[in-house]
Subunit: 316 residues, 2 copies
């Protein structure tokens, strides 16, 4: 027997937030939030069959739908506080909803984020999460880069693309490396603390969702400059290099997307502060190139021109 | 040839807001908004084939997607300021996108609302709009009603349900009355000024989206009381009564939904202030019953018990 909208919300999603700044949460026409200063708002939609494979588990989808939005706020140096959920599901499947809510709330709690409202509708599976956060003293935009700034990325790139390939091919690899890559796609780690820590020193930032070259390209467009990437410096994980040949691993890292690492820029004079800020988060960062005068992103390999195999995700 | 995501956003949706409180709008990872005090947040999704008929024009859909959210803020007595749009479309259809954006922005401009961000994805047609506004001195919730309070509705009810019937049956009526009903469904008028004007005097409010009896039922549940509706007092438009027999018109008004009028409650001592507040908005309001001790909504007709033909929209 299928549940009604209100029963589903009550059973799975209406968890009274501990946050005293949620003046009114789920259950009325709108939520009321005490925000001192500036609010930072991001929204992202995941559509079944477009942004995720049917094989993705419901709890991973709940995690992922929130993670991609937390990642947007991380790229602003903002602190996420609240979220809303617009969930469209073909039917009221108890087990699925329970797992989805579990994945969403586990990540939300880790970041002190309260679900304050939403809309539950029937239709093709689509998940839209909106996150609202508070801005730090300085918001990290895509537009603040200058020629001469160093270009950095956190963590490692290409793992999620490798994970997608394993899921899509229903790769039987049950090794620790294969599991790690699949998890990187299914349960990405938004770099929230890192974004906040970088905000005072970085000049521009974006999260890597479409692929490094595409996303760095967005920084270049908005900052009115170009970039050079030294591809041999792009960080690749041991797991990725275990399961894929080096050329394939590099292609995933340059164009793969879905890693939700931060790509950011900073003047060379800030290098030590950047390093210290990220060390305090326990997250490695690697300098992979520089912003330059001009436009567009070009790659070098050991100082020689290098043509990447692909440029990143195209949405249409 | 189909446009890419970024071209579509630039062409149709990236209109720099005049609002100086939009510190950062479309084009970065998130929007940054200067909010003094409390933010009021609502989100609603419209799914093709579930919430709207294929026959609805794209500009009406753009209007409607925003209107239903403005209506939620109206029911809180809040002032809408900003919105985000998560739009999922099966393909990049120039003509459709232009009309959709036109409908959305026309209504947004009428209410001083800026589109500050969003996500454009490919998939089954689904529109999720989120509105963020600022709270007044007092937020109107569903929970503030007390036995003895009067129950009011603004405008007239049942028109949208009549309009849906005309659209679904492809009713050939080209009369002014038929057009008026269709417009009430396709381009509902959110009662934003009315909500703000009522907020100091009303005890509880909701917007009529699921149907009067269902929505008044939500006020009763949250307020811990019941309600009696005198059905002969429920306001029906001349247009509705021209096109439908009186029993059908009443059924639409009690259970039809989609009118986006406000249903609100207030102590009898506030009756004159309520009337003056709505008169200043140019909007009629009618007292249709009372909150009572107990639970549930019951109907009377000329003082006698009356069983309504249906209770309202069920979401699953």
């Amino acid at each position: 027997m299928s549940l009604g909208e209100f029963e589903i919300i009550a059973r799975y999603f209406d968890r009274p937030p501990a946050d005293p700044d949620v003046l009114l949460g789920i259950g009325d026409d709108a939520a009321v939030l005490a925000i001192g200063g500036s609010a930072v708002v991001a929204v992202d939609t995941l559509v079944a069959g477009v942004h995720f494979h049917d094989a993705i588990a419901a709890d991973a989808l709940g995690h992922r739908a929130l993670a991609v939005n937390l990642s947007d706020l991380a790229a602003m140096g903002a602190t996420p506080r609240w979220c809303t959920l617009a969930l469209t599901v073909p039917k009221a499947d108890d087990e699925w909803l329970e797992a989805f809510a579990r994945g969403l709330f586990a990540l939300a709690e880790r970041h002190g984020v309260s679900l304050v409202g939403g809309d539950l509708t029937r239709g093709p599976l689509t998940v839209t999460v909106q996150v609202i956060g508070t801005a730090g003293a300085r918001s990290l935009t895509r537009a603040g880069g200058h020629p001469g700034d160093d270009v950095y990325v956190t963590g490692s790139l290409g793992d999620a693309a490798g994970g997608i390939a394993l899921v899509a091919e229903r790769h039987p690899a049950a090794s620790a490396a294969a599991n790690a890559l699949r998890e990187r796609f299914c349960r990405p780690t938004p770099r929230v603390a890192e974004g906040v820590a970088l905000a005072p020193y970085a000049s521009a930032a974006i999260d890597v969702s479409d692929g490094l070259l595409a996303d760095l390209g967005h920084i270049c467009e908005r900052s009115g400059c170009g970039a050079v990437v030294d591809v041999e410096r792009v960080p690749l994980s041991a797991e990725l290099l275990t399961l894929f040949p080096p050329q394939q691993a590099l292609a995933y890292a340059l164009a793969g997307g879905d890693d939700y690492e931060l790509c950011f820029t900073a003047p060379p004079a800030q290098a030590e502060r950047i390093e210290a800020a990220l060390e305090a988060c326990g997250t490695p960062a690697r300098r992979i190139g520089q912003l330059v005068a001009g436009e567009g992103v070009v790659c070098r390999r050991d100082g020689e021109p290098f043509t990447p195999p692909s440029r990143g995700y195209t949405h249409f």
